[in-house]
């Protein structure tokens, strides 16, 4: 045992081990400062009535008030609806686009990938301004002019409960699939050509190849995108904040926006910390379920 410890010490002193630990330590310090510390701090704050000039512990009052709050329930429901409507469609769209650009020449693939990735590079605020313009409620608004061609009366897209959630969902459907497309394309390129050749020899159709080769081979990728998509969707904040402010009548208040409002409108940081930890727990449970039931036969 002593000899082994001495051996490790020698390797640390003489070899690259010391350097490796040094560099790992930097990452560890950054992680500790900017991830672990805020999470632990949030946990502590969630049991406090937080004040900049002196907080006081209030037990589980913050958690109790959240479970009694109708608004938190509504925000959770809105977040769930948004997730169910956006994540699967985003996966299908990304997969479809990836399949369509796969047969193209490399330069064409690159061009399309760049085009689809562009919204991810653009500022969310700038995109929101464009969408606000599209959703202009007056008859002269772009979307209203389009539906006007079909003889439909102009709609108050963001100002009516019946259309506000759909407007945010539509915005999600039509933007920001670039990352998923690139990941799908990379995964498609990783499928061995021999599978397709064997299928062609057996006379398989396009859809048969898709069902029996592509979809099973892309299952790890799909699971990854599904889990990260659901996590991202549950944390959605920007769209609701910039487009509707959560309204009308809280019809687009998501949990992320509610946490922000609790913290920065009402200065109830303890309650906001508790809300964010409950959200993290919910996301963790959903991710666990996804891995449990969808990740059984997935190998990485």
């Amino acid at each position: 045992m002593m000899a082994r410890a001495s051996n490790i010490k020698n390797r640390l002193n003489k070899g690259d081990g010391a350097w490796a630990y040094g560099f790992i330590a930097i990452a560890l310090v950054v992680y500790a400062l900017f991830t672990a510390y805020p999470v632990i701090s949030a946990l502590l704050i969630s049991f406090q009535e937080y004040r900049p000039l002196g907080s006081s512990f209030n037990g589980i009052d913050n958690y109790a008030s959240i479970f009694k709050s109708e608004l938190f329930g509504k925000a959770l429901w809105n977040t769930l609806v948004y997730t169910v409507l956006t994540v699967p469609v985003a996966l299908i769209l990304s997969f479809g686009v990836a399949i369509m650009i796969m047969p193209l020449k490399k330069w064409a693939q690159t061009t399309f990938k760049a085009i689809y990735y562009l919204p991810a590079v653009a500022s969310g605020v700038a995109l929101s301004v464009v969408w606000l313009w599209i959703y202009d409620p007056m008859p002269g608004g772009i979307l209203n002019q389009l539906i006007g061609l079909l003889g439909i009366e102009n709609q108050n897209w963001l100002g009516s409960s019946s259309t506000s959630m759909f407007s945010l969902v539509l915005m999600s459907w039509l933007s920001s699939h670039g990352t998923s497309i690139i990941i799908y394309v990379a995964a498609l390129l990783g499928i061995d050509e021999s599978y397709y050749e064997a299928a062609e020899i057996d006379g398989a159709t396009f859809w048969q190849k898709m069902w029996h080769i592509v979809i099973p081979c892309l299952k790890p990728t799909t699971l990854f995108l599904l889990v990260t998509g659901v996590i991202g969707s549950f944390q959605v904040f920007q769209n609701a904040y910039l487009m509707t402010g959560g309204g009308p009548d809280h019809s687009t208040t998501m949990v992320g926006l509610l946490i922000f409002d609790t913290a920065f409108k009402y200065f109830e940081f303890g309650k906001a910390a508790a809300q964010s930890l409950i959200l993290a727990l919910i996301i963790g449970i959903i991710a666990f379920i996804q891995f449990k039931f969808l990740g059984k036969d997935v190998e990485y």
């Binding site: 400062l33 102009n154 959560g246 409002d261």
Partner: protein
């Protein structure tokens, strides 16, 4: 070579770690450091041997040209107090609150921030405001008009100095008002009831070539969301969310009458059915492009904006608002409801003093007051309020303003003065806890329900019931007006 690279990498890594750690330990700029240690001369106006000090101020674009003058303001302040430095951090109106809130919650706010007096209770509740009552000299206090200075108080404390006192009015297009046979001069001087107003805006509706010009458009989306209702209810016997005996007043029957009126004006076709999505920018655009006869909310400075645009139209300047028409902007009072007296919604904004986690030194506090007074009076106030078309509220600014040329419409000046006579008084007696609860009810229930009411999704009665329930939950059945 390899050793050198490793050495350089290590040094870089250490620097990164140290800088990351040091960022966590940054000190609060409200606390006087070695350069601003206490000095016996702090509370006096003379700066003979006073220690050096820096006062920080977070300031939005108070008037169109305000932020252009920051360098000059800093230089003038330093000239007046050679040992003091005024460090101004500019902010847009959009991110002002968020920037300030972040700094306040981190325990390191600026020494001064330009905010509305209605924000005082919010920060006072957190204990982050600096009470300057004992630091303001009698000469400083005497320079201000009494009414606006009252707005800077909460309980026994004085937390800042007012920059201006304005009224939230509505604004009309003179030509369109005359076309609709509305005696605007009489309205300016005598006001109008809701019933008269309703008929007037009906008369202002014109439909031509399938396009509708509305009688009245008020911004209700975005940052303007809480203005509409809070301005209207002041004229319905509820000048404050709390009665004099501190009962929440928005459970009064008159509140329901205002909600019914809001719906009526849309149902009449006098206001657009898409009103819930009309923000401040949109409705101003609608006003300048002739899509509405009257707009709200209106501030005196809008006359200036309209005049500027008129000049651009006349000069064929391409930067004029697209499709805009020449507009003579008229200040109009908000109508009164349910037979109640009209009470103008007074807006008092100013320079509010903050403190950090540690108690600032007495000298630093005195310096903050000097900076607040410098910004709220004299040349700075005269220039800013002239740019804003706002009335002066200090004698020192009035004196300087005498030499300034004004292009304001005299009818509008008279109308604003009339409304200021009926301005809602300050309510420093409202406890901060009640104020904070009222803000929460407003944000969580009133604004969302108002959006639904404007969109035609709920009835005025539904909204009234929801507000009443939330108020009783927050203040108790005995804490609200029961009628």
């Amino acid at each position: 070579m390899k050793r050198k690279t490793k050495f350089a990498a290590t040094v870089l890594a250490l620097m990164l770690s140290v800088s990351a750690l040091s960022a966590c330990g940054s000190s609060n700029n409200n606390n006087a450091g070695p350069s601003n240690s206490p000095s016996p001369s702090a509370s006096t106006g003379t700066e003979g041997e006073a220690a050096k000090d820096t006062i920080t101020a977070l300031l939005p674009p108070v008037s169109p040209k305000y932020q252009e003058n920051f360098k000059q303001m800093e230089a003038d302040f330093n000239k007046l107090y050679p040992n003091l430095t005024l460090k101004i951090e500019p902010a847009s109106w959009e991110d002002m609150t968020q920037k300030l809130d972040t700094q306040v919650n981190a325990g390191s706010p600026p020494d001064l921030a330009f905010i509305g007096s209605d924000g005082i209770s919010k920060y006072a509740q957190m204990g982050m405001l600096l009470d300057i009552k004992g630091l303001v000299t009698p000469e400083m206090a005497a320079d201000f008009d009494e009414a606006p200075l009252e707005y800077m108080k909460n309980g026994d404390g004085l937390y800042g100095m007012p920059a201006y006192m304005e009224v939230h009015a509505i604004g009309g297009n003179k030509q369109m008002l005359e076309q609709a046979n509305i005696d605007w001069k009489k309205v300016q001087q005598q006001g109008w009831t809701y019933e008269e107003f309703r008929e007037a805006i009906k008369a202002g509706v014109v439909t031509e070539n399938g396009k509708t010009r509305y009688g009245f458009v008020f911004a209700t989306a975005g940052v303007a969301s809480k203005d509409y209702l809070s301005i209207l209810v002041k004229n319905a016997g509820m000048p404050s969310p709390f009665t004099k005996d501190h009962k929440y007043s928005y459970t009064s029957k008159n509140y329901l009458e205002v909600l019914k009126a809001i719906r009526q004006m849309i149902d009449d076709g006098s206001m657009p059915k898409e009103l819930s999505s009309v923000d401040a920018g949109k409705r101003w655009n609608m006003f300048l492009t002739g899509q509405t006869m009257i707009t709200g909310k209106g501030l005196a400075v809008f006359e200036n904006s309209a005049n500027q645009n008129n000049k651009k139209i006349e000069a064929n300047d391409g930067s004029a608002v697209a499709d805009s028409i020449a507009v003579d902007y008229l200040v109009l009072p908000v109508p009164s409801f349910a037979g109640q007296e009209a009470v103008s919604h007074a807006v008092v904004d100013g320079y509010v003093a903050f403190r950090g986690k540690k108690e600032p030194t007495e000298e630093h506090k005195a310096n903050i007051v000097k900076a607040a007074y410098f910004l709220a009076s004299g040349q700075v106030a005269a220039t800013t309020n002239a740019d804003l078309f706002a009335a002066h509220i200090t004698d020192s600014a009035r004196e300087i303003a005498k030499t300034m040329e004004s292009t304001r419409n005299p009818d509008n000046i008279a109308a604003v003065e009339k409304m200021l006579e009926h301005a809602a008084p300050a309510r420093p007696d409202i406890p901060v806890e009640l104020g904070a609860k009222a803000i929460k009810v407003e944000n969580e229930v009133v604004i969302p329900k108002l959006q639904a009411l404007l969109a035609g999704e709920i009835s005025p009665e539904d909204m009234y019931a929801a507000v009443k329930k939330a108020a009783i939950d927050a203040f108790g059945a005995d804490g609200v007006v029961q009628e």
